[in-house]
């Protein structure tokens, strides 16, 4: 993974890169629908609800970041 980060190449880092073509297509379709559904829902949310979701997502990202920092110490 580190080699890929240095090279600036993403391809081998994608978790599902090695999945079969049909499996990828099925998941692509399913996740595209999931995003569409989420867009419809979130568009109707209040600013407080949206803020809560953003904080939730940023919390997950922050968790990954702190793990990476700890790992380098």
């Amino acid at each position: 993974m580190k080699k890929n980060v240095r090279d600036g190449k993403l391809t081998e880092k994608t978790p599902m890169s090695k999945a079969t073509h049909s499996e990828k297509q099925r998941l692509l379709k399913k996740m595209a629908q999931a995003v569409e559904d989420a867009r419809n829902r979130v568009s109707g949310y209040s600013s407080e609800e949206r803020e809560r979701l953003e904080t939730f997502a940023r919390g997950l990202i922050k968790g990954v970041n702190s793990k990476q920092v700890c790992g380098t110490r």
Partner: protein
């Protein structure tokens, strides 16, 4: 060390496709990185991905799991998630409202928001597969953003961007 000055915003549909291993999306990232681009995930895609994780929990484990993996991969992919200031969010919402009501008759407010947020972050591209954004009149959209004192953003699909990148490569630039 040069300061990053070329940014591209990535939409939620692009991010989930990237996590699933979509070749077009991977090609876009590798191609634009070669041209010195950095990638930004703005508030709206984060909210949408967060909503899938939150709302699909216990309903559809696969949707929930992949949305969560997508969020967790943002750091691993080296994408940036800079937050907008409160005032910028408020202005982005107003701009989004105008964009959707005048240029995207079948669009949701989130389509306008993702574009306004990309403009606030000075992104040159917004890479998306959202039809409402891709079908909106490009000139009118750019003029509307400039009229709101924001940068113009080129809204482009991964397919079209890959074609453009391949053409640049073929010319040897």
């Amino acid at each position: 060390v040069s300061t990053p000055n070329k940014f591209a915003a990535l939409d939620s549909d692009f991010l989930t496709a990237l996590e699933v291993g979509d070749d077009e999306c991977e090609g876009v990232i590798d191609g634009l990185r070669g041209h010195g681009f950095y990638f930004i995930v703005t508030e709206t895609p984060l909210e949408e991905l967060g909503d899938i994780v939150y709302k699909e929990q216990g309903i559809d484990a696969e949707r929930c799991e992949h949305a969560q993996k997508t969020i967790l991969s943002i750091t691993n992919w080296g994408f940036l998630t800079p937050p907008l200031k409160d005032i910028e969010r408020a202005v982005a919402l107003q701009v989004a409202d105008k964009l959707v009501s005048s240029l995207m008759p079948h669009g949701h407010i989130n389509e306008g928001r993702v574009l306004a947020e990309a403009a606030f972050h000075k992104c040159r591209f917004l890479i998306t597969r959202r039809n409402a954004l891709l079908k909106a009149n490009r000139n009118s959209t750019e003029v509307a953003l400039i009229n709101a004192d924001l940068n113009s953003v080129v809204v482009v699909s991964p397919t079209d961007l890959n074609i453009a990148l391949a053409a640049i490569k073929a010319r040897g630039n």
